[in-house]
């Protein structure tokens, strides 16, 4: 066991993946000499050299497109997109090329690449550097989507992503890089695509992922102080999506909130809510509640930013309302 940060866990996963497989290479803006905008790749350039830590010009579509071609040609590229907000620029290469190549070409070739990026709020970085755009990716068949919430998952899920046969979009959260945790690097990796149940309670289920896991856990602790026990599920990957785990707990408890930082409308929460309603309808005591980002862009103003995505207090209050309805009935 070693205590490390989310940032260092990601670096260690890249280092171990590169040491193990010499086809793994990192390509992106400032990934090499600079060490990454958030410091994740610092030191890897010195360790692995310019051939495997490839600095690029500011040319996002070409970075992703080059990774697609490299992946089709026997390499295993890890492309880095500095902010998920830039994903729209790359959507042709990601959505029309990477995601569709295996299918369009009748299974002849896959695109085993990882697109590492980061998203979310928390740095007052404004509307073009603070978004949660995972729904764009989840909406595109052919792309895997991983969003680690813990240090341990940052390590193990990135290691696993480097072994996938299909393109993986790996979205880190910008507010988690300094989070610390004891990690057992030698532990067996969690099952790919499997959700993790962090807490079990009988009063409500909170389904979440990425940074909102921590908000949900804090809210659950606060609710426990008032006698309300919540189950908290971290999906960890949104594609594959472990709906079995969600179903099991929803059917047991009957009250559900989905918590996500992305905007509510047509977001990940909408997909989860729809599936729960479709597949667990008979077990629901109340409608599924979505606790998501507001349907607005992110402000630079710290107060507006903070209050435009779920806070611990807000999750707690929504949870208590959901449960309170039951006691009132």
């Amino acid at each position: 066991m070693a205590e490390m940060t989310y940032r260092d866990a990601l670096k260690q996963a890249l280092r171990d993946g590169m040491a193990e497989d010499d086809t793994v290479m990192v390509i992106g803006e400032e990934v090499g000499r600079y060490g990454g905008a958030y410091g994740v790749t610092k030191g890897l350039y010195e360790e692995f050299g310019a051939d495997r830590m490839i600095d690029t010009p500011i040319s996002e579509p070409a970075i992703v497109g080059a990774a697609v071609g490299a992946a089709m040609s026997g390499l295993r590229p890890v492309a880095e997109l500095m902010y998920v907000d830039f994903i729209g620029m790359t959507m042709d290469q990601l959505g029309n090329q990477a995601a569709k190549i295996r299918y369009m070409f009748g299974g002849q070739v896959g695109v085993p690449m990882v697109l590492r990026t980061q998203g979310g709020t928390g740095r007052s970085a404004g509307a073009q550097h603070s978004q949660s755009l995972e729904a764009y990716v989840m909406h595109t068949p052919g792309l895997r989507l991983v969003m680690p919430a813990t240090v341990s998952d940052a390590y193990h899920l990135l290691r696993q992503s480097l072994k996938q046969p299909d393109p993986v979009v790996f979205i880190e959260h910008k507010a988690l890089y300094t989070m610390k945790e004891d990690v057992d690097l030698a532990a067996p990796a969690p099952e790919w695509g499997k959700a993790r149940v962090h807490r079990t309670g009988d009063d409500l289920v909170i389904v979440t992922y990425s940074r909102q896991l921590h908000h949900a856990l804090a809210a659950a602790e606060a609710m426990a102080g008032k006698g309300v026990e919540a189950t908290v599920i971290d999906l960890r990957s949104l594609n594959p999506l472990d709906f079995d785990t969600v179903r099991e707990h929803v059917e047991r408890v009957g009250r559900v909130m989905v918590v996500s930082e992305g905007v509510m409308t047509a977001g990940v929460g909408a997909e989860l809510s729809a599936r729960i309603h479709e597949e667990c309808f008979d077990f629901l005591a109340e409608p599924v509640i979505r606790v998501c980002g507001e349907d607005i862009p992110i402000s630079v103003s710290v107060e507006l930013e903070k209050n435009s995505v779920p806070t611990v207090a807000f999750i707690q209050s929504a949870g208590e309302k959901l449960v309170g309805l039951r006691s009132a009935a």
Partner: protein, 351 residues
């Protein structure tokens, strides 16, 4: 180091000091504003983790902006404080915006990287590299239709020279003879990547030539040179031939406020900072006898006082009220988005 300067152009530059004092004044205001906003950031009294200073690039901002007229429009990159201030922005409202305050130009929603003011023709700063460039094509179309001779200018850094959208935009502007110019402020670094590490095509203005644009590269040391080159390019654009101007300068500090730029050596920084357009103009004023040291010290002090007042204004300015977060997603009068909280209450009260 820098791209070759077209000496044929440089020789034609008028060397008159006539307006140098006014240009110096604007450059000094830009620099002092940025020094103050940097202080505010370090003191933790500014919103945002994103603060990109353009210290060292003042001649580009002032040289071009001093030739803009009412009705002209422009877009900037994320390092655009100087351009906006040189165009006539109120430093108080600018700094309040950078601080995320209600009194700012965008009511605290935009901040440093997304500031705009339609009244001054500022169609917006942009945090996406190259993101603001194509808008000038549309603005140019509108201007051409209106026929009043207004131009639209895209300002961007050398990082955007490697973005495909620039080439699509230059091609359309040339194809349709639009009153548009593209101004690359080449500060030598796209974040931590030196221009030589980003491209082998070093004579940046040749890319404009390839699309049929009037194109020049100018050294940014002397603001008069920048102004003269910008004048030629702007005249062409007002006459229907779009243009491209690269201004060679040096970014004195890191990419963003907390970047200590470990990717460059102290020697490189020293050499780069020697190309100080503000210091150069000051020296030229004194050496030509146009201004005395005492005059310039008084001027600098007056500007420092003006910019100190911007800090006081920003610190005292109001945080935007929470409900304003739902405003301006859609047009005034349209329903605002329903908040998540209101929606939950509605659903749970529903049965």
């Amino acid at each position: 180091m820098t791209a070759p300067i077209d000496t044929a152009v440089a020789e034609k530059v008028p060397r008159s000091n006539t307006e140098l004092l006014a240009l110096y004044r604007q450059m000094r205001r830009v620099r002092t504003f940025e020094e103050r906003v940097g202080e505010l950031f370090v003191r933790g009294q500014s919103a945002g983790s994103m603060l990109h200073l353009s210290i060292g690039e003042e001649s580009a901002a002032v040289g071009v902006a001093s030739l803009m007229r009412d009705g002209d429009t422009f877009t900037t990159h994320h390092r655009g404080h100087g351009l906006f201030l040189a165009r006539g922005a109120d430093p108080k409202r600018m700094m309040a915006e950078i601080g995320g305050k209600e009194e700012g130009y965008c009511h605290g929603k935009g901040g440093s990287m997304h500031i705009a003011d339609m009244g001054l023709g500022h169609l917006g700063a942009n945090a996406i590299v190259g993101g603001g460039i194509p808008a000038v094509v549309g603005a140019g179309l509108a201007s051409k239709r209106e026929g009043k001779g207004a131009v639209s200018i895209a300002f961007f850094g050398d990082g955007a020279m490697q973005q495909g959208i620039l080439y699509e935009s230059m091609n359309m502007a040339a194809l349709w003879d639009l009153p548009v110019i593209f101004v690359c402020i080449n500060n030598q670094y796209g974040m931590g990547t030196r221009i030589e590490q980003a491209t082998k095509g070093r004579a940046l203005h040749e890319r404009g030539l390839a699309f049929g644009l009037n194109s020049e590269t100018v050294d940014g040391l002397d603001v008069r040179d920048v102004r003269a080159a910008a004048g030629r390019i702007l005249d062409g654009a007002r006459g229907g031939t779009p243009g491209f101007l690269a201004v060679e300068c040096y970014r004195f500090f890191g990419h963003a406020r907390m970047d200590k730029s470990p990717y460059r050596t102290p020697e490189d920084e020293e050499e780069g900072r020697a190309k100080d357009p503000v210091g150069f103009a000051r020296k030229a004023l004194v050496e030509s006898g146009e201004s005395s040291e005492a005059d310039l010290e008084a001027l600098d002090a007056e500007i420092a006082q003006e910019m100190d007042a911007t800090i006081d204004f920003t610190v005292a300015a109001r945080e935007p009220a929470l409900q304003t977060m739902f405003r301006d997603v859609y047009a005034p009068g349209e329903p605002e988005p329903e908040s998540v909280a209101a929606r939950i209450d509605r659903i749970l009260a529903g049965d």
